[in-house]
């Protein structure tokens, strides 16, 4: 009989842990509260099913435990019951899937007014690139990578000349402005993940992937690499600082364009001095 009691305790304990433990996701800082909502719906539905199934099992185990003289019923099937259960399950599944698909539609549809920011991953640090004054990111490829050109910006592309190159792992974003992250890697898979923003996507060498979101509050957020990329994977961290528009403009002024960067790269001392 112990097992019936333990099953009940497992349900009670799991629910209590869920409700009272301090471990919960970090407060959101982007527009993806839809994702959080879908997650919460899913928690409720699945939690209810888990409790129902396990408690029912516990009840059966207790009620129909073997006693002398007790005999099981011969009960091969019950078509109606099975179809009902199937239908109810299908409804529950649909209740989770349908909102999920709607949110996914938004997730992959970048709004037209989103600004662009390229996130660049390599073993094991982050860099960033912003379109310069012309508003267009130049093309780039691992082909062009060199000491003066760590991000592999295409030197023959005129759009690339004024792109801002940001090394050091930290980048600024203006609050309440949708941003499309273009994700690029030149060695292995990485994944740019800021838990507060919820969105994440692998960066794959040889292609450019993307995500988009709107930062909704200012602050300094840590970025992790969420796709295994070799020994130093857990130490590949960066920072995203979300600031008001004015402060953002100030920060922009301090960044080097690709042209300047290439020029100063040959004289590392100057570059350091400029920082």
């Amino acid at each position: 009989m112990l097992i019936a009691v333990v099953l009940v305790l497992i349900v009670a304990g799991s629910v209590a842990f869920h409700l009272y433990s301090p471990w919960w996701w970090t407060p959101i800082a982007s527009n993806w509260d839809y994702i959080d909502n879908t997650l919460v719906i899913t928690f409720w539905i699945t939690g209810a099913v888990f409790a129902a199934v396990v408690l029912f099992t516990a009840y059966c185990v207790w009620k129909f435990r073997h006693r002398p003289g007790h005999k099981a019923e011969f009960d091969p099937e019950n078509k109606r019951l099975e179809w009902w259960l199937t239908a109810v399950t299908a409804v529950g599944v649909a209740a989770m899937l349908v909102p999920g698909l709607f949110v996914w539609k938004q997730f992959v549809t970048v709004p037209a007014n989103a600004s662009e920011l390229e996130v660049f991953g390599q073993q094991w640090n982050w860099a960033y690139r912003l379109p310069g004054a012309d508003g267009v990111l130049g093309t780039a490829d691992a082909e062009w990578v060199s000491g003066e050109n760590p991000l592999g910006v295409n030197p023959h592309d005129r759009f690339g000349k004024d792109d801002l190159i940001i090394e050091g792992g930290e980048v600024y974003l203006p609050v309440d402005q949708p941003v499309k992250l273009l994700l690029r890697s030149i060695d292995v898979l990485h994944n740019f993940y800021v838990p507060e923003f919820r969105a994440k996507m692998d960066m794959v060498p040889g292609m450019v992937t993307y995500i988009w979101f709107t930062p909704t509050r200012t602050g300094n957020f840590e970025a992790l690499c969420a796709e295994y990329c070799g020994t130093a994977h857990p130490f590949m961290r960066g920072f995203v600082t979300v600031v008001e528009a004015a402060e953002y403009q100030e920060w922009l002024q301090e960044q080097l364009t690709f042209e300047d960067y290439a020029r100063t790269a040959s004289e590392p001392a100057t570059r350091l001095a400029e920082r």
Partner: protein, 591 residues
Amino acid sequence: MTDILPEHDSNLPPREVADVMPPHAHSWIGKYVFSQDAKYIAIQYSGTAAAIGLVALVLSWLMRLQLGFPGLFDFITPEAYYQFVTMHGMIMVIYLLTAIFLGGFGNYLIPLMVGARDMVFPFVNMLSYWIYLLAVLVLVASFFVPGGPTGAGWTLSPPQAVLSGTPGGAQSGIILMLVSLILFIIGFTMGGLNYAVTVLQARTRGMTMMRLPLTVWGIFTATVMALLAFPALFVACVMMLFDRLLGTSFFMPTLVELGEKLSYGGGSPIAFQHLFWFFGHPEVYIVALPAFGIVSDLIAVHARKNVFGYRMMVWAIVIIGALSFIVWAHHMYVSGMHPWFGFFFATTTLIIAIPTAIKVYNWILTLWKGDIHLTLPMLFALGFIVTFVNGGLTGLFLGNVVVDVPLSDTMFVVAHFHMVMGVAPIMVIFGAIYHWYPKITGRMLNEAMGQIHFWVTFIGAYAVFFPMHYVGLVGVPRRYFEIGEPAFLTAPVDGLNAFISSAALIVGAVQVLFLFNIFWSLRHGLAAGGNPWRATSLEWQTPETPPRHGNWGDDLPNVYRWAYDYSVPGAPKDYVAQNDPWVPDSGGRRL
């Protein structure tokens, strides 16, 4: 060459399948080393799988030591940690679970349950084991080569798997891993052809497909799936081996590694992921379906009740098997593949939940109005239901593409798949061993040790993996050597991790008791008799226990009924064996 045995009773309809006596071994080596008896091969498979599984268990301890008590153990460097993770994952999934369910239980149970004397091609079956052993040895060898085993993660995704930033990537670790997998697949294919053809072509007289125990349905469907899914892994491994050794660029685009441009170019890393998961997802069900089948039988026997909704159970197995080939990309929602695939794969993935749920309902409805004996197999079956339902439900989070976005590649995923394909199938393996050990050895396993084993394993494993979901929810990614104290943690996870690690150590330790029980009971277990659980299926009706070479005496059994005639009204006993010609008074439909 083959000797076909004569018919004894001439009143019966003619046999569809000839009664072929498998060749007898005469030498000691032929009997105990290169045995062609499926039952012996089953033991060899299970023993080898358990041995290498212990390695994986020890590796999980080492990982948990690092995660629970970071900084305390100097010898666990990041390199070592990733090697542990990789080898642990790969061994558990392929070399332990796949091998033990198909090579172990498949070999032992299929011929007995379908009423055959052996597998159809005993020689090929024997080769299968030896190639498997070779694969395991190659895998073990990789621990001893310079650079150690590969640390690429069990998903082996290129380019990192073959580059120097990953342990073993530029040395021989990854090469041995790939070679070992290729060998495993070749060996498995030999065995798998046998399991499938035996079910198709060696069922005894009267054993229609709809009379098979669900164990056979589960193993059979899983085998067919494995035969179709493993080629994908095979192709992926061969191509990656070429990339690593011969300089091809199947999966390698233009790369700059640590400032240096490599000679690769033109390949696609995502192609590898498609190939890998085209195998990888069916693999989940290759492990799960045999467990589904076996647990159905455990519940029926120990609740003295027919499996509820047998037909639905069979259909569900077949439907799950088929659907699981069109859901693979749910592992790739954030891989950078075309986002529109998300709609398709989320839908197919959540549809699979429906037949899976039906199976769960039917297990519980089998308990309903049963006569539940809380034997060890039944306890483990109940443990399976709890952990499987838990893991299955978290699968609905990860399958629902947008919910997966924040959760993918976090410890939530690790917790999910351990529940659903780690703990749950292992519960079934334990239950099955307690259930069939008496048939294999003629003795019962010790009950007291078994009780301790069950309670510690069940409660311990739940304590390990339930809280782990929340470690993932707060944002700790998987494959993290250490997380540190980033600001997004709403509460520090150190204490929780230490708790999980302690529980994992205890769960691991109690497995030693289980192993001891296996050996101890060989000598000291209670004598079991031929059918201690009063079960109906054919393996319990053999003339000798343990069954001899050839399984049946002079005559193959004839099958008169399905495998679940428990507590039939009017029957003389509370079970009617499949080879028992008893007919109910009420008639029913006679054939």
